[in-house]
């Protein structure tokens, strides 16, 4: 017996899907098999039912039909979702030519297979989120992969031109290394303390800090994801940052006997490069 939700539920959902896409040819058995595959991980019947009720049935139906090569389903997809793919690609790439290439690559990956053995990427859609959101993530993934590939190609070309395996270190980096005596001493200490304190933060706080500080996500986007205004997102980040700093400084005082003046000196020395830029900015 297939570990899936109760059949009446699936039947009802399937009928709704057929009502929405009456000309799409997808068998109930194929739909049931896919649904069972998706919710089969749930241990209990009620868990499977809940998981099934959360699925986007109609979009799953369409994606499944597309991946199985239904021409009408693909036409629906082209009408309803392909413009979305193009818009996402345009937003992901700065140059329009790059965006067009990316969109073409994606269409080629999504298109129903001409021959068996190479499944459409749409077969990976499991109805968990909306098809639009899945396409957004898929475009993002494709753009990142493409960027990585391009960067690798560029660096290879540069290396070939230079005739060496590694680029020579710049004068700047050498100077930075020479001018970091305190960093060499306190850098590992600080890194360890920061690691410890970051580990104590809730995962979401860490993720938000990483998105903001490392990945350069705008406050507006963070706020939208977490359902708050960007000013609130900004306050969250500031609060988490202050919390980490306070704890790190407390640990430095407690474990290493540093005083307020020492801490100032430490922060001053910890990143020479950043301070140079900041010194300019402050015009002091």
């Amino acid at each position: 017996m297939i570990p899936g939700p109760a059949l009446p539920d699936v039947h009802a959902a399937f009928e709704r899907c057929q009502h929405r896409y009456p000309t799409v040819q997808l068998t109930f058995e194929a739909f049931l098999a896919r649904v069972s595959e998706i919710v089969g991980g749930e241990q209990t019947e009620s868990g499977r039912r809940q998981a099934f009720s959360r699925l986007n049935h109609e979009e799953l139906f369409l994606a499944l039909a597309c991946s199985l090569g239904d021409r009408i389903a693909w036409e629906h997809f082209v009408d309803d979702y392909l413009p979305l793919v193009r818009r996402f690609a345009e937003r992901a790439c700065r140059a329009s030519a790059e965006a067009e290439d990316l969109a073409q690559d994606l269409v080629a990956a999504l298109i129903p297979p001409a021959a068996p053995g190479k499944p459409s990427r749409l077969a990976g859609y499991n109805g968990g989120g909306s098809l639009g959101a899945w396409l957004r993530v898929t475009v993002a993934r494709a753009a990142i992969d493409r960027f990585r590939r391009d960067r690798r190609q560029i660096s290879l070309e540069v290396m070939e031109e230079q005739g060496s395996e590694l680029p020579a270190p710049s004068a700047d980096s050498a100077r930075e290394r020479a001018g970091e005596p305190l960093d060499a001493r306190w850098g590992p200490v600080l890194s360890k303390l920061l690691e410890e304190e970051l580990r104590l933060l809730p995962a979401r706080d860490r993720l938000i800090l990483a998105l903001y500080y490392l990945r350069g996500v705008r406050l507006e986007a963070i706020g939208r994801q977490f359902g708050v205004h960007e000013a609130t997102a900004s306050r969250w980040i500031e609060a988490a940052r202050k919390r980490v700093r306070k704890r790190v400084e407390a640990a430095l005082r407690r474990r290493h006997g540093l005083r307020a003046r020492d801490l100032q000196s430490l922060w001053r020395q910890v990143s020479d490069k950043d301070l140079r830029a900041l010194g300019k900015a402050l015009a002091e």
Partner: protein
């Protein structure tokens, strides 16, 4: 070197630590469907927590989520702040309760200061009232005891009335917005502000004009209270009011103070604007909490007076998203009180304000990071629509920008 530079150094160290934590988690990465469901908030709490736990230490997933967030073209609506995301804010509930506590403490502190001031000022008036009956018998010659008793009772009632009146006057040395004189001043200011404000090309941003007037008065009052020199003058004026013979001088001094307030109101300073904007940008979920609303009302009451309290709820619900906005790189600037204010300035509205002309290198840094600032500055106006808020109404409005940069607020004219 001030402590702000240490903030930057700390940020750099924090970034390195975060990067060190963000390795490659490899095969455990959630698939696109799962990430999509997470981004849409459709995962169960435990599943969402698992995605976050993984993404917090996986550079690849961070990149994916970051880019997917940037690709999101869903317009931010007011409903987004109040519906369907409650589960996501649990971690920050504690910080909200802290904010509420801080608001309550501030309100209580202001209340204590007001009560102390009231006692100090009320005392001499009470003495005057107690001295008044001494003179009364000389004038009164009524012999009947009953009449004396009745008269005494009456004089006590009158004295009580006078005392309460004098206390009332002393509690409110300056006219309040609900009094006719003050109302005239406010209306005069509004009329002036409307006259001076350039006519918008498209539907005018109505809330900023009226709010600008009110907020400017609030902040001007606050500044008048806060600044030590003005405080001294205020105290001198109060002392003169109490001593009686110099009442005329006291009125003049108070009038001077009022004039200063009006001057401030007519041209709100960057500090006024940032403070008022920070008040305006109170998150909605905070407003949804009754306790926080009460705290906010208390705070506004202490700052503005009873008349403004009636409008406090509606005014505080006004969100900065309703204002004309302009997106410059990763910053969003809102047009408020005649300034384009960087939303990040709400992080610390009390940050040092630096005139851009005094810090050319800093301004240059800002221009490098946010090139659009230079373009806008070159034209001398912030024109065109931008951002989700749409600045159609702000087209052609000459604006001074207040940009939060390196822990300071730079005034770029």
């Amino acid at each position: 070197m001030n402590h702000k530079s240490h903030d930057s150094a700390f940020d750099a160290a924090l970034g390195r630590a975060l990067a060190a934590r963000s390795g490659s988690a490899g095969r455990d990465c959630p698939d696109e469907s799962r990430v999509a469901a997470y981004l849409e908030g459709r995962l169960e709490q435990a599943a969402a927590a698992a995605v976050e736990e993984h993404a917090a230490k996986c550079a690849s997933c961070q990149r994916l989520i970051a880019l997917a967030l940037e690709l999101d073209e869903t317009p931010v609506s007011a409903a987004d702040f109040s519906v369907g995301q409650s589960g996501r804010r649990e971690l920050f509930r504690f910080s909200f309760s802290l904010s509420a506590l801080a608001l309550a403490l501030v309100a209580a502190g202001i209340g204590v200061v007001l009560v102390r001031g009231l006692k100090q000022r009320a005392a001499p008036a009470d003495v005057a009232q107690l001295e008044a009956p001494k003179a009364a018998p000389a004038e009164s010659s009524a012999p009947a005891i009953a009449e004396e008793k009745a008269g005494a009772k009456l004089s006590r009632v009158e004295a009580d009335e006078k005392r309460s009146t004098s206390r009332f006057d002393q509690v409110r040395p300056a006219a309040r917005p609900d009094e006719p004189g003050r109302r005239k001043e406010v209306e005069g200011f509004r009329a002036r502000a409307e006259r001076e404000a350039p006519a918008p090309a498209a539907p005018p941003p109505a809330p900023p004009v009226s709010k600008a007037a009110d907020s400017a008065i609030v902040t001007a009052d606050k500044i008048a209270r806060d600044e030590p020199s003005k405080k001294k003058e205020n105290e001198a004026a109060q002392a003169q009011t109490v001593t009686g013979p110099q009442l005329k001088g006291a009125t003049t001094a108070a009038g001077g103070l009022e004039e200063r307030k009006l001057v401030k109101s007519a041209a709100p300073t960057p500090r006024d604007a940032v403070r008022a904007f920070a008040l305006l940008a109170v998150p909605k979920q905070q407003l949804n909490s009754n306790a926080t609303q009460e705290n906010l009302r208390l705070r506004q009451k202490s700052e503005r007076g009873p008349a403004a309290v009636q409008n406090a709820a509606s005014q505080s619900q006004a969100n900065s998203e309703q204002l004309p906005s302009r997106v410059l790189g990763d910053r969003t600037l809102y047009l408020y009180m005649g300034y384009w204010i960087d939303a990040q300035a709400t992080v610390n509205p009390e940050a040092e304000i630096v005139e851009g002309s005094q810090a050319p290198i800093a301004v240059e840094e800002i221009h490098k990071a946010l090139p659009a600032v230079k373009d806008l500055r070159a034209f001398g106006a912030v024109a065109g629509a931008g951002g989700a808020g749409g600045a159609a109404g702000a087209k052609g409005v000459a604006g001074t920008m207040l940009v939060y940069w390196g822990g300071k607020i730079y005034v770029i004219r």
